[in-house]
């Protein structure tokens, strides 16, 4: 965040405020002699050109100028040329401002265009339908043409992409309908005390071996560091767990054989075993996992225990998993702020609040994901009175209804799909295997890929169902949930009151799992 801020501070005044001030002299010096009041070569007059880029015509004229400059067509070779530095500055200034203006002008005065799902919506929608979240890197990216990634004009469809959709669908369905045991990711630090103490001893021994000399640090500093390490080991309870201070991070890098969690987004069960000590009355201890979620450690105050929570987590690209101990003080201490800082050598206070961190366990819940996924496709179980074909037809029909966001599948298309299924079965494929193809076809068909609205052509109102879809994709980039559908079917959603209350209640109902 720091870098971003600095960047803006530097560029903002340089670009925005002075556009007119910097462009005018350049134009006057290099352009006006041929494109001015007296002479207008190519019927172009630049001395009176406005610098207000919020006006579309003006912005387009400036774009022409930029094109000419970029192509080095102007100023003509026999005229005086600007210095390279000045030219660079002008080009950057113009490019920056026009990019900004372009984004502003995009999509103005246009009607809503039918468009395909963008990448984020597609991944979320696939998740809702199959229970499988496709990897971000595995799905082809969109080319953004505007500031919004749901800008219809930029969301192209090509034969390549259509084929990819089918592949992605197979990937998800293969996983969702697999009967094979799923690899469960488990990572565990059983004895945090030993791990930490060993590391501390090793570090201390290393310092001593080098006779307190280090390339980066002074002898005095090294001696202090050494003393600190020893005092860590001398603390009470240092044999019972990793003693984490308030604000300190316990760094964990989960790894299971060759598998790491780099960039993984998934549900996890996190179990933490430990005890919190030296708190004052009213202090509240927390463990911040991966800088994303707070676990309340109140139960662990002076009481060793294991607590677990299920969370949806996003791992960084390094796969690091920092666990930060944080104490919310009842009484704020004014003045001195005792913060743990890894660069300074502060003596350890054995009486400060501490988390005696015993063990930690991280388990991915993919197994449950698969069970959920199976249920998402096979929404109902087979009745004994039904034939296999009847049952399959029902499953396909239900799946299409969901995939088509509350619109039914046509009888003709349904017949094609059920025929495909029957054909697959008669070719000796298993029923589960045979149904994948019709489902994958649904997931690459136009009614699924495109967000279309029928009613906007002739009236300015959308239907209740379309409203539900709009609302849901606008807020979560994913399809409506059952409650929203039910409201839409009953025709209640379009009333102003329901709509307003729905916006709030759905936000509450659906937690922020649709990130991406």
């Amino acid at each position: 965040m720091k870098y971003l801020l600095i960047f803006y501070l530097l560029t903002w005044p340089a670009f925005s405020g002075t556009f007119a001030q910097k462009m005018k002299p350049f134009i006057d010096k290099h352009c006006v002699s041929c494109h001015g009041e007296k002479k207008q070569e190519g019927k172009l007059r630049l001395d009176s050109l406005s610098t207000d880029l919020t006006d579309l015509d003006t912005a387009e004229q400036w774009q022409d100028i930029l094109d000419e400059l970029n192509a080095a067509a102007m100023p003509p070779e026999d005229e005086a040329q600007p210095s390279k530095e000045h030219f660079t500055e002008i080009l950057e200034l113009l490019t920056y401002n026009l990019t900004k203006a372009k984004k502003m002008h995009y999509g103005k005065k246009r009607e809503i265009v039918m468009r395909r799902l963008n990448k984020r919506e597609y991944i979320n929608t696939m998740y809702e339908l199959t229970g499988i979240r496709l990897k971000d890197t595995a799905v082809m990216g969109d080319r953004s043409t505007a500031e919004f990634d749901n800008h219809g004009e930029g969301l192209y469809v090509s034969s390549f992409l259509l084929a990819e959709y089918r592949k992605y669908a197979y990937q998800a369905l293969d996983k969702a309908l697999s009967k094979e045991p799923v690899k469960v990711f488990t990572y565990e630090i059983n004895d945090f005390a030993k791990e930490k103490n060993d590391a501390v001893r090793k570090e201390a021994a290393e310092i001593k071996k080098n006779d307190f000399k280090s390339k980066r640090k002074k002898v005095k500093h090294q001696k202090l560091l050494h003393a600190r390490l020893l005092s860590y080991l001398a603390q009470p309870d240092s044999d019972k767990g990793f003693l984490v201070e308030d604000g300190q991070e316990a760094k964990v890098k989960p790894r299971n054989g060759r598998t790491t969690l780099k960039g993984v987004k998934a549900k996890f069960k996190i179990s933490v075993n430990g005890r919190v000590k030296n708190l004052e009355v009213g202090d509240k201890p927390y463990l911040i996992i991966s800088k994303q979620r707070y676990i309340d450690l109140s139960e662990l105050i002076n009481n060793q225990k294991e607590i677990s929570i299920d969370v949806y987590l996003k791992f960084s690209h390094t796969g690091d998993f920092p666990l930060t101990f944080h104490v919310e003080k009842a009484k704020k201490i004014k003045g001195k702020n005792h913060k743990y800082n890894k660069y300074s050598v502060e003596p350890i206070d054995p009486n400060a609040p501490k988390l005696v961190f015993n063990s930690v366990k991280i388990v991915s819940l993919e197994k449950n994901v698969i069970e959920d996924a199976f249920k998402k496709v096979f929404t109902v179980s087979k009745r004994s009175s039904e034939t296999d074909a009847q049952y399959t037809e029902k499953i396909i029909k239900n799946f299409a209804f969901k995939a088509y966001r509350g619109r039914p599948i046509s009888d003709r298309f349904l017949k094609i799909l059920t025929d495909l299924y029957k054909n697959n079965v008669s070719n000796g494929r298993s029923q589960i295997d045979a149904i994948k193809e019709p489902l994958a076809i649904i997931l690459s068909s136009p009614k699924f890929i495109y967000l279309t609205e029928n009613s906007t052509t002739n009236s300015k109102f959308v239907s209740d169902l379309e409203l539900a879809v709009r609302l849901s994709y606008f807020l979560w980039s994913s399809p409506p949930d059952q409650e929203l559908y039910n409201l839409a079917y009953s025709g209640k959603l379009s009333s102003k009151q329901t709509l307003r209350s729905q916006v709030y209640s759905t936000i509450k109902r659906r937690t922020v799992s649709c990130n991406g």
């Binding site: 774009q63 094109d67 192509a71 026009l98 990019t99 082809m140 090509s158 136009p446 279309t452």
Partner: protein, 328 residues
């Protein structure tokens, strides 16, 4: 060389590199929307299993454009290219034929389905839908091709499949290798490849490509250029050492154009381009060629290459002549 296109996006200079299209005059015939490789594919692709191969090191950006000017995406991972070219999926001929027939009926069904909402939607949406129908038609065209090629066994690549998810230098080398095999086995005759430059720049620890283009110092850019040139020479050496059935080398029979969409900063004038390969005697080495200002157009190069490759055209985009210096 200077393409006459507008700088549509300051950072996507390659987007219109192969078309030289002028955004403001897209219609009226003079300015082509289609990229030169696709034009070549139409003519040269008739006799091969795939009319063209589109590759980009970064999965977002593709240079090739279809007839309506829409980008044509393609492969990123070398393994995907390998599978597309050489893997048959272990099915019998009859099964493959059946699969093709089935795919046709699915495409028909998709078309039906989109027609059902075509009747109800507005004009702008119809344009969007046209894009979809074009894609479907393209798939069907490929199916027809697959049908004719169904009983022709695929050639053996003679090399093991590349590893999945190669990046940077490794990715480029593996892609070069596959390009050569694809040409040697005559799977395709037209290939466009946008190299993952950003990745290379990161590998060389030179910051980002954007910084590099804007930097006034040229030392870092030189480091990048040396690295890329070494890769190019790897490709050229391989092209020269790969023999065709008649004893000539691949190098004798191809035309390779290698270049960049940006000169410095956002400037799209005076782009450096290397043209090599003998093009079956149609192209000759001419050393460093500086073109006359009036004929200094990228579209002239594309026209020259297309003509040398046997296309009977006398104009491409805003071309105003051939580059005689490189014509043999």
């Amino acid at each position: 060389l200077t393409p006459l296109h507008n700088n549509h996006s300051a950072h996507n200079t390659l987007g219109y590199y192969l078309t030289c299209v002028d955004k403001k005059k897209p219609k009226g015939g003079t300015y082509d929307l289609v990229s030169c490789d696709q034009l070549a594919a139409e003519k040269l692709g008739g006799k091969t299993r795939y009319s063209s191969l589109e590759i980009s090191g970064e999965s977002k950006n593709f240079m090739s454009r279809d007839k309506s000017g829409k980008p044509i995406p393609g492969f990123t991972d070398p393994l995907a290219i390998y599978n597309k070219l050489f893997s048959n999926g272990k099915v019998s001929l009859e099964e493959r034929r059946q699969m093709i027939r089935r795919e046709r009926s699915i495409m028909d069904a998709f078309r039906d389905q989109s027609r059902s909402f075509e009747r109800k939607i507005s004009k702008t949406d119809k344009e969007k839908l046209d894009e979809y129908f074009t894609s479907i038609r393209h798939i069907e065209k490929n199916l027809t091709k697959a049908e004719t090629w169904a009983d022709v066994p695929r050639p053996k690549p003679g090399v093991p499949a590349p590893k999945k998810g190669l990046q940077g230098t490794e990715q480029i080398k593996a892609t070069y290798d596959l390009m050569i095999i694809a040409m040697q086995t005559d799977m395709t005759r037209v290939i466009s490849y946008q190299q993952p430059i950003e990745r290379i720049i990161r590998e060389l620890k030179l910051g980002s490509g954007h910084q590099l283009s804007h930097s006034q110092k040229s030392g870092k850019a030189a480091t990048r250029d040396v690295a890329l040139s070494q890769l190019l020479s790897y490709l050229l050496d391989k092209l020269k050492s790969t023999k065709e059935y008649d004893g000539s080398s691949l190098f004798d029979n191809i035309i390779l154009s290698y270049g960049s969409g940006v000169c410095w900063q956002h400037s799209i004038s005076d782009l450096p381009v290397i043209v090599t390969g003998r093009g079956k005697g149609k192209i000759k080495a001419a050393g460093y060629v500086e073109l006359d200002e009036k004929k200094n157009r990228l579209s002239n190069l594309w026209l020259t290459i297309l003509q040398s490759a046997g296309l009977e055209i006398d104009k491409f985009s805003h071309s105003n002549g051939l580059i005689e210096e490189i014509r043999a």
